[in-house]
C-alpha cells in the first residue's frame, strides 16, 4: 500500500538546514493498522504529511499503491489525496461555519460526485458513526468525541483505502478516546489501511504494528525494548 525508500525531507532557512526525515524507509501493507510513535520533533508529522501527499519529499522514493508519487504536481497529488487518502486530525479540523452534513460533503465535492451520490454517502457515514440525527448541527454544538466521529465520517465518505490519523484521541477524554479507537479498529476490519500517530502507549499497542521514529528515521524496535510493544505482521 505504502512504501517509502530512503525518503528525505529537509527545511532550509537562510542559515540553517533542518533534516526532518533522513533515509526514511517504511512499508505498510494493505489492511494494516500501524501506529507511529516517537518523541516530539522526531519527524512523525513530517512523515504523515509526506504520506498524505500534503508535502513532497526532498529526496527518495515514495510508492503509493505501487505508483511512484514522489514527483507528482499539485493537481495530481490533490487528486490522489482526495481519492485514496482520508485524514483524521487531533484538533478534528471541522469547518466551524458548515453543518456536519456540509463538512462531510467537502471531500465529495472535490471528487466530483453527483448531488444524489454525495447525499447517499453522507447519510451512510453519518449512520455508521451514529450521528444521523445531528446532520444539520454545527460542529460547536457537538462534544469533542462527536466532533471526532464526524471527522472520521468525513474521512470515510470518499471510501479511501488509506487512513492517516494524527493523534486522533489527543483532545479526548479516556472514554471518548476508547470509543474513537474502537471505531478506527472497526474501520480497519473493513479493510482500510490505517497509519496512526500517537503518544498514547496503550493505543499504540492496539495497532497491528508499532513504528517508532527517532531523529527522522525509523528506529529498530528490537534496539529499543523499553518502547511499547509492537506486533509486526
Amino acid at each position: 500500500m505504502l512504501k517509502m525508500n530512503n525518503v528525505r525531507k529537509s527545511f532550509r532557512t537562510d542559515t540553517i538546514e533542518t533534516h526532518a526525515l533522513r533515509d526514511f524507509s517504511l512499508e505498510v501493507k494493505e489492511g494494516e493498522f500501524v501506529s507511529v510513535t516517537g518523541p516530539s520533533g522526531s519527524g512523525k508529522t513530517t512523515f504523515l504529511n509526506i504520506a498524505g501527499l500534503l508535502e513532497p519529499p526532498t529526496g527518495g522514493e515514495y510508492l503509493l499503491d505501487g505508483d511512484d508519487v514522489s514527483n507528482l504536481n499539485d493537481r495530481q497529488r490533490s487528486h490522489l489525496r482526495n481519492e485514496k487518502i482520508g485524514f483524521i486530525f487531533q484538533g478534528f479540523n471541522l469547518i466551524p461555519d458548515l453543518t456536519l452534513f456540509d463538512n462531510i460533503d467537502v471531500p465529495l465535492r472535490y471528487r466530483g460526485f453527483s448531488a444524489k451520490e454525495r447525499r447517499k454517502r453522507i447519510e451512510k457515514v453519518l449512520e455508521q458513526v451514529g450521528l444521523s440525527a445531528r446532520a444539520k448541527h454545527l460542529p460547536a454544538q457537538l462534544s469533542g468525541g462527536q466532533q471526532q466521529r464526524i471527522a472520521i465520517a468525513r474521512a470515510l465518505a470518499g471510501e479511501p483505502r488509506f487512513l492517516l490519523a494524527d493523534e486522533p484521541t489527543g483532545n479526548l477524554d479516556s472514554l471518548m478516546a476508547r470509543q474513537v479507537m474502537e471505531l478506527l479498529e472497526f474501520i480497519n476490519e473493513w479493510g482500510t489501511t490505517i497509519v496512526m500517530v500517537t503518544h498514547d502507549p496503550e493505543l499504540a499497542r492496539r495497532a497491528h504494528r508499532n513504528i517508532q521514529i527517532v531523529d527522522g528515521q525509523v528506529c529498530d524496535l528490537r534496539a529499543v525494548p523499553e518502547q511499547p510493544a509492537a506486533v509486526s505482521v
Partner: protein
C-alpha cells in the same frame, strides 16, 4: 463547482459581516465615484450623428479679422455670416443643407387655459428635419419657398404639442408667436441629441428647441440670435438690414454630401465663392474653410474637454486606491480563513481550486459592490444635475450600457483586488494549519 463556490462565498460574506461590508463599501465608493465621472464623459462623447458621419459636414469659412485669427482649434469661426449663409443656400450641390440659429418666441394659444410662455425656437431651413433625422408624429416640414420668403408656419416639438393641444394632432391649427398667427404644419416626436451636435455654439447639453420656424422670416420679424453672435468689425451696421449684411457670425451651417465627388465639387464651390468675395474686399485672411464631420465637429468644439479627461483619470486613480484598500481587507479575511483552506487542501482541494474559490468570493464582493456603486453613481449624477440647474439634464443620466459597465468595472476591480490574496492563500502550506488549528 461554480455554484458550490458561490454558496461558499455568500456564506463567508455572512460569516464576517463587518469586514465584508467594509470591502463592499470600498469597491462601491470607488466604482460609484469613477462611474459618476465616466458616465458624464461617456454621455458627453456620444455622437448622435455617428450613422451619418461620412456624409454630414459642418461648414466653416474664414471671414474673420485679417489681423487676428479666430480663437478656435482650427482658427476658423464656428458660425458664418447671414449673407454667406444666403449665398451658400443658393448652391444646388449638397443633397441637403441647413442654415439655422437659435431664437425665442412668446407662445400663446387663444381660448386656452395654457398661459403664454417663452419657447426656445430654431430658425432653420426645411432640410433640418431630414438632415438630422428628426422624426415627425404629425405633418411635416415647410415648402422650399418658406426658406427665402416669409411664411408663418411652425413645427412644434412633442412637449409643446402636449402642452398646447394635449398631444392631439394640431396640424392646421393656429398659435400666436409674439402675437402673430402661425399655422402648425408639423409635430416632431421627442428629439434630444446629447450633446446638441447641431448647435454647439450655445450650451452643449441644452434642451432641444420647442418650436421650429422657416429661415425666410428674418426680415419680417427682425429676428436676431438667442445664441452667440460674434463680430470683429467695430463699425456698427445700420439697422436690421445692416446686421444681416454685416460681418457678424451667428448662423450654423451644415451640408449633406453623399459622395467624395460631391464633396470635391462643394469644396470647389466654396473656393470659388471665397475668391469672389475676396475680389469684393471681404475674406481678407488667407483662403481657408473647413468641412468637418460630426465626430470632428465634437472634437473641434471641445465637448469633452481636457479637464473632463483628467477628471476621468483621477476618478480611476481613486478607484485604484479603493482597490488597494480592498486588497488589504481581503488579505486579512483570507488569511484568517487559512486553516479552513488547509483542511480543504487535505481533503483533496488543489491549489487552483482554493485559488478559484477565493477569487469567486472576491468577485461576489465586486458584484455586490458594483450594484451598490451604481446607486452611488446615480446619486452622484443626480447631484450634478441639481448643481447644473438643468444644463446637464441630457447627459447627466445613466443608461444600461453604463450600468453594465459599472458592474463590469466592479468585477474587474474586485478580481484585481482578490488576485493576490487568493494566490497567497492557495500557496500556504496546509500542514501548518492542520497541526495548529
Amino acid at each position: 463547482m461554480f455554484g458550490y463556490y458561490i454558496s461558499l462565498a455568500l456564506r463567508s460574506l455572512r460569516g464576517t459581516p463587518v469586514l465584508s461590508a467594509l470591502m463592499i463599501a470600498a469597491i462601491a465608493v470607488g466604482v460609484g465615484a469613477s462611474m459618476t465621472v465616466l458616465t458624464l464623459n461617456y454621455m458627453m462623447s456620444q455622437n448622435a450623428l455617428e450613422h451619418k458621419d461620412d456624409v454630414l459636414y459642418a461648414v466653416q469659412l474664414d471671414s474673420w479679422d485679417v489681423n487676428k485669427a479666430y480663437d478656435s482649434p482650427n482658427e476658423l469661426p464656428r458660425q458664418i455670416t447671414y449673407r454667406d449663409a444666403q449665398a451658400l443656400l443658393r448652391s444646388d450641390i449638397p443633397t441637403r443643407q441647413v442654415a439655422m440659429h437659435r431664437f425665442g418666441f412668446t407662445v400663446e394659444l387663444r381660448d386656452s387655459p395654457v398661459l403664454p410662455f417663452t419657447a426656445s425656437t430654431r430658425v432653420t431651413t426645411r432640410d433640418f428635419f431630414s438632415l438630422f433625422d428628426v422624426p415627425f408624429i404629425y405633418g411635416g416640414t415647410w415648402e422650399k419657398e418658406a426658406d427665402t420668403s416669409a411664411t408663418q408656419v411652425v413645427v412644434l416639438s412633442k412637449s409643446t404639442n402636449d402642452k398646447l393641444f394635449s398631444g392631439e394632432n394640431s396640424v392646421g391649427k393656429t398659435i400666436s408667436l409674439n402675437a402673430e398667427p402661425f399655422t402648425v404644419i408639423g409635430v416632431i416626436d421627442h428629439w434630444q441629441p446629447a450633446p446638441n451636435i447641431h448647435d454647439l455654439n450655445n450650451s452643449h447639453f441644452a434642451q432641444s428647441a420647442k418650436l421650429f420656424i422657416p429661415f425666410g422670416l428674418h426680415r419680417e420679424y427682425e429676428i436676431y440670435s438667442w445664441g452667440n453672435t460674434n463680430g470683429w468689425n467695430s463699425e456698427r451696421p445700420d439697422g436690421y438690414e445692416g446686421f444681416l449684411q454685416g460681418e457678424n457670425i451667428w448662423i450654423q451651417y451644415w451640408v449633406e454630401l453623399s459622395s467624395s465627388e460631391q464633396k470635391g465639387q462643394y469644396e470647389d464651390f466654396l473656393t470659388a465663392y471665397i475668391r469672389g468675395e475676396k475680389a469684393q474686399g471681404r475674406f481678407e485672411r488667407p483662403l481657408k474653410f473647413a468641412l468637418s464631420k460630426p465626430s470632428e465637429w465634437l472634437v473641434l468644439n471641445e465637448v469633452l474637454s481636457d479637464d473632463n479627461r483628467v477628471l476621468g483619470w483621477v476618478s480611476l486613480a481613486f478607484l485604484l486606491v479603493c482597490v488597494i484598500n480592498a486588497v488589504a481587507l481581503l488579505l486579512a479575511k483570507f488569511l484568517r480563513k487559512a486553516p479552513e483552506a488547509g483542511v480543504r487542501r487535505a481533503l483533496g482541494a488543489s491549489r487552483s481550486a482554493i485559488f478559484t474559490q477565493h477569487l469567486i468570493e472576491s468577485a461576489a464582493i465586486g458584484m455586490i459592490g458594483g450594484i451598490a456603486g451604481i446607486f452611488i453613481a446615480v446619486l452622484g449624477i443626480s447631484g450634478i444635475r441639481h448643481l447644473a440647474m438643468g444644463q446637464m439634464d441630457t447627459v447627466a443620466t445613466m443608461d444600461w450600457v453604463m450600468m453594465i459597465a459599472a458592474v463590469g468595472l466592479a468585477l474587474i476591480a474586485s478580481l484585481l483586488a482578490g488576485f493576490y490574496p487568493a494566490w497567497r492563500i492557495s500557496r500556504t502550506n496546509p500542514s501548518i494549519y492542520l497541526k495548529t488549528q
